[in-house]
């Protein structure tokens, strides 16, 4: 049994047919294509989870600074606030957002991370998943299931569209990360595969058209904050889906739309640092400060 699927519809069909959750179908598929035991695959994913945990911890508690000096320390700032006072969006939301920022800050400071699905969007999944696991007292084994669910969504987006900012803008990159995350936490909270895909679809719809415009071309700003908002987006979209709210446009069509929007974006807005925030007076000044005048 290959458990191969090419899109969301086929994945949901397999879940129904075998009475399995998304993570179980994805694990069967991985075992089939790699020839590896399921336990071996889960163990490797557990290793990824541990790296994610250390990155979150490092960013929340240590002084991190990026190579260019542009970002670092904001996750810690947020943690100090939510730990000491009431916040507008609450402890859990703030913690998830701060954790997502923490990973991106560690990434920018040349620390170790796990691309999820890319380095520039690597904060959203660990940030949200680990905060949710902590809040609901879920074990690491449960969190690994969440990572596998997330990988199924990411695989479908990679296969049918793109997760690269250079190709599809930030909507493709942090959008995919947030969609993966939303589906993972819906499934962990007992939601159905359909609900998980609704959450993923809603997440991408929320940021459709988001451009990739990194200042000086570096994976720093606005990437750290886009990971923050991606985390919030995933949490809200998951809550909507768990309440029974459905995406009017099915997941597969949303992914297709996202891809088409990405292709319609001018190259200035796809990771080239020639448009958007990168091309503002301040963005250009920062670029000059970091690289000097040689960069045209």
């Amino acid at each position: 049994m290959s458990f191969e699927f090419n899109n969301g519809r086929e994945c949901i069909e397999l879940c129904k047919q075998h009475d399995k959750q998304i993570w179980e179908v994805m694990l069967e598929r991985e075992s089939f294509i790699s020839g590896k035991e399921k336990s071996e695959i889960e163990n490797y994913m557990m290793g990824n989870l541990q790296i994610m945990k250390s990155a979150v911890r490092k960013g929340l508690f240590e002084e991190v600074k990026s190579v260019s000096g542009l970002v670092g320390g904001d996750a810690k700032k947020l943690r100090e606030r939510y730990e000491s006072q009431k916040t507008l969006s609450g402890y859990r939301m703030n913690k998830a957002v701060a954790s997502a920022m923490a990973v991106l800050e560690v990434n920018a400071a040349m620390g170790q991370i796990v691309a999820a699905p890319t380095a520039g969007s690597s904060g959203i999944l660990p940030g949200v998943l680990l905060s949710v696991a902590e809040a609901f007292e879920l074990s690491d084994e449960e969190a690994v299931k969440g990572l596998i669910t997330a990988s199924a969504i990411g695989y479908i987006i990679t296969r049918n569209a793109t997760v690269a900012g250079a190709e599809g803008g930030c909507q493709a990159e942090t959008g995919a990360a947030a969609a993966m995350t939303a589906a993972a936490i819906v499934e962990l909270m007992g939601g159905s595969p359909q609900q998980a895909f609704h959450a993923a679809a809603i997440t991408i719809k929320n940021i459709l058209g988001l451009v990739c415009d990194p200042i000086a071309g570096l994976v720093e700003a606005p990437c750290v904050k886009r990971n923050a908002i991606g985390a919030a987006n995933a949490l809200i979209s998951a809550d909507l889906a768990l309440a029974g709210v459905e995406s009017i446009i099915p997941f597969d069509e949303v992914v297709e739309a996202m891809y088409r929007v990405g292709r319609a974006m001018p190259c200035e807005l796809r990771e080239t640092a020639l448009g958007g925030l990168a091309a503002t007076p301040t963005g250009l000044e920062i670029q000059k400060r970091i690289f000097g005048d040689k960069k045209e």
């Binding site: 994913m45 190579v67 560690v106 040349m110 170790q112 796990v114 695989y155 071309g217 570096l218």
Partner: protein, 223 residues
């Protein structure tokens, strides 16, 4: 179409900030070091395109030196690679260069080993930490490092390919892709074999023992 693994999505494990500018750069120079085949004493990196423009901010320079030291892209010491290289007395330099009509993230690596031998490798970091090496010592080649890759430098003679494939079949290693590149008939050539299975040291040793027509053998591990 590539059959994506879940670890293509949640992965690779890497040192930030960029899979193409950091992880891919480290893999490129690690592959180059393997091709050099010995400890490196001096290395020059000719940076092209986006590599040339943004290498400092992305830590591409540190990643390239880390690869020369043999570090993996997820080695926590990657950010200290330049200091470690200096301590070991390894000289390195970065030169911005126009390498022609190539991928924006391309580097030419010229290495001098402890034996005095010079090796030149050109490759690109093509995204997601994936690489493409396309020139070794001026000879056109092509491999991605996505699979375990065996590089055999040999003299272009009848039977050379059969000898290598016989060894691989003895060890139950399946060849996924294989290409042969040569300068001209009967001269210096490269065989590039990408496999589905891991290649062990015994295979390398047997290949090396095939005789003087087989000049050198290198193994590049998969990502």
């Amino acid at each position: 179409m590539k059959n994506y693994s879940m670890f293509d999505v949640i992965g690779p494990r890497m040192i930030g900030p960029s899979s193409s500018h950091t992880a891919g750069a480290a893999r490129l120079s690690k592959a180059a070091r393997k091709i050099g085949g010995e400890e490196i004493k001096q290395v020059s990196f000719y940076l092209h395109g986006s590599f040339a423009k943004t290498y400092k901010g992305h830590g591409t320079d540190r990643a390239l030196v880390a690869g020369i030291l043999g570090m993996e892209p997820n080695d926590e010491n990657l950010r200290y690679a330049m200091e470690i290289a200096l301590e070991k007395g390894i000289e390195f330099e970065f030169i911005e260069a126009d390498l022609g009509d190539v991928h924006p993230n391309t580097v030419k690596i010229i290495m001098k080993g402890i034996s005095g031998k010079t090796t030149e490798v050109i490759g690109s970091s093509v995204g997601g930490g994936n690489i493409r090496v396309f020139k070794i010592n001026g000879l056109d080649v092509e491999f991605t490092g996505e699979y375990p890759t065996l590089l055999v430098r040999h003299i272009d003679k009848p039977g050379a390919i059969a000898k290598i494939s016989l060894i691989l079949s003895e060890y139950g290693i399946n060849i996924a892709f294989m290409r042969v590149f040569r300068q001209s008939k009967g001269k210096d050539a490269f065989m590039i074999i990408e496999t589905d299975n891991k290649i062990n040291e015994e295979v390398i040793d047997k290949t090396k023992a095939l005789g003087e027509d087989f000049i050198s053998v290198y193994l590049i591990d998969a990502l």
